[in-house]
């Protein structure tokens, strides 16, 4: 396994910490007047998604993490796992609930997602930034209230519940920002 020295630390570098792949977010070199220098590193654990901070003794080496992010097509869910396919190689990868996380609320079969692989295993799935989803249930908006900026809840075909304007009706196709969970607009087929 390749190792990297603290001198090579930079944001975006993937390293192995406590046996889990992490992405360096910030790296700061700090040194007291005399003595041991440290690299103060803020990083995201790519398995848990948690952001943590650790001090590395400058000059130490750590293992690099074999992490790649690939665009893959979502195929289907078998009740337990979500299955994806690399459109270049047709290779298939299955991702569990921990890896798919909130993205499960937004993705439909055939959507192209960004799948992060660590040693060939899917560890996280990011939904496309924008998806088009149909409204399966929403109460009728109150007539005459459309200009008030009011909103109501709507359930989408994936099961996600979002806030939508009052004029939205069941069967409408909506454009949704998956990063915030916000309604963007009505969409055309």
């Amino acid at each position: 396994m390749a190792t990297v020295s603290t001198n090579q630390f930079r944001p975006g570098l993937k390293i192995l910490l406590d046996g889990e792949p992490c992405n360096i977010l910030e790296n700061q070199f700090v040194k007291p007047g005399k003595g041991q220098a440290f690299n103060k590193v803020r990083y995201r654990n790519l398995v848990t998604g948690r952001v943590l901070e650790k001090n590395f003794r400058s000059g130490d080496t750590v293992e690099a993490a074999d992490v790649v992010e690939t665009e893959m097509q979502y195929l289907y869910n078998d009740g337990e796992l979500w299955h994806f396919m690399d459109p270049q190689t047709y290779e298939q990868h299955a991702a569990g609930e921990a890896a798919v996380g909130d993205s499960a609320k937004w993705i439909k079969e055939q959507d192209v997602c960004s799948v992060m692989l660590w040693n060939g295993q899917a560890i996280s799935v990011t939904a496309p930034n924008f998806v088009n989803l149909q409204v399966t249930q929403t109460d009728p908006g109150l007539r005459g209230d459309t200009s008030s900026g009011g909103s109501k809840a709507a359930t989408l075909e994936t099961g996600a519940v979002i806030r939508v304007p009052l004029f939205i009706e069941e069967g409408d196709l909506l454009r949704v920002d998956t990063r915030t969970g916000d309604y963007v607009s009505r969409a055309k087929e």
Binding site: N7, L17, Q28, F29, V30, K31, P32, G33, K34, G35, Q36, A37, F38, K40, V41, L52, E53, K54, N55, F56, R57, S58, G59, D60, V62
Partner: protein, 336 residues
């Protein structure tokens, strides 16, 4: 002539992509030049002689935490390996032993592996030595220099032990490695990699991570009397606890200078060099040659003196309000 046009266009594109311009605004470089004039006037008025010593030498610092850069001259008859100096200290002490009297230098130094908002591997040090001064007398003079260059007022002085007691409620001189690890844990400081065994690494982590950023706010802070284990080239003072007669100066959270009441005992100096070299071997760090010429000079006799090295680039940062060293260097290493 028509053919020359595409070439010129390509040239212009390259000129845009290549960062040939200085990273510091010219106004900062002018301020930096004024600081050098102020510094020279300050020492000239006090009868301190300006000297110049080699950057390239046969020996170098043995300090475990300084990475000397090794070079080779290809000229016929040139010595084998040479080292870029991490400070002019070793040569300036030879001048003192030769009877130079008080001396100062604005010197270039090179320290491998040091890069960050406050570090460039090539730096400028203002280093000076005062025969007849101890570290307290030299702190007075540093305070006056800071007033002359930065316009700072009366400084605060705290011993290292007091500082740790005040900020972290721990006895820096007696707490063992486990107690210091517990303090670091409470402070949310985690160290990656192999478990930290030595006290000094914990102390240095706590110092740089939790104390330093608070020092020198509104007025300079001097920290003095360091643990004996962090003496470097400072004299030890016996007592309970024994301390190293060493000081550091902080201005607005920035470590600006490190000074010593200088160790003059040749045998003790050789012992510390040899201990460093043994520890370098143990840790697999590059071996560096022992400075026989310095030891011979100490043998001959170093006058009782105190000396200090002040980061001139950082002084320029403080004078200009820069937040990164690049803003006071014409060409930092990334575009040198």
């Amino acid at each position: 002539m028509v053919a020359a046009r595409p070439a010129r266009t390509a040239g212009a594109a390259v000129a845009q992509a290549v960062d040939w311009r200085p990273s510091a605004p010219l106004s900062h470089l002018r301020r930096r030049a004024e600081l050098a004039i102020t510094v020279r006037a300050f020492f000239t008025a006090r009868g301190v002689l300006e000297v110049e010593t080699p950057l390239l030498a046969a020996a170098t610092a043995t300090d475990l935490h300084l990475a000397s850069v090794r070079c080779r001259l290809e000229a016929p008859g040139a010595p084998g390996a040479l080292w870029l100096q991490t400070s002019p200290e070793l040569h300036m002490k030879r001048l003192l032993a030769a009877g130079s009297g008080a001396i100062f230098q604005l010197a270039r130094a090179v320290r491998g592996g040091e890069a960050g908002p406050l570090h460039n591997p090539e730096l400028t040090l203002l280093e000076w030595y005062r025969p007849g001064f101890d570290h307290h007398a030299l702190m007075d003079e540093v305070e006056e220099l800071l007033a002359a260059t930065l316009g700072t007022g009366r400084a605060q002085r705290l011993s290292y032990g007091q500082l740790f007691a005040d900020h972290l409620g721990v006895d820096a001189h007696h707490a063992d490695s486990e107690q210091l690890a517990a303090v670091a844990g409470r402070q949310g400081l985690e160290v990656a990699g192999a478990p930290v065994e030595d006290r000094d690494t914990w102390l240095q982590l706590l110092m740089s991570g939790r104390i330093e950023p608070l020092l020198g706010r509104g007025r300079p802070t001097f920290v003095y009397d360091y643990p004996a284990s962090q003496a470097a080239l400072a004299r030890l003072r016996a007592g309970e606890p024994p301390v190293a007669e060493r000081f550091e100066v902080y201005v607005e959270g920035v470590e600006l200078a490190n000074g010593f009441h200088e160790l003059a005992d040749a045998a003790e100096q050789e012992g510390r060099f040899l201990a460093d070299l043994a520890e370098r071997r143990r840790r697999g760090l590059p071996e560096v040659p022992l400075d026989r010429r310095l030891l011979a000079a100490l043998e001959h006799g170093l006058p009782d003196c105190a000396g200090v090295a002040l980061g001139f680039d950082r002084l320029a940062m403080l004078a200009t309000g820069a937040s990164a060293i690049e803003e006071v260097l014409a060409f930092p290493v990334a575009r040198a």
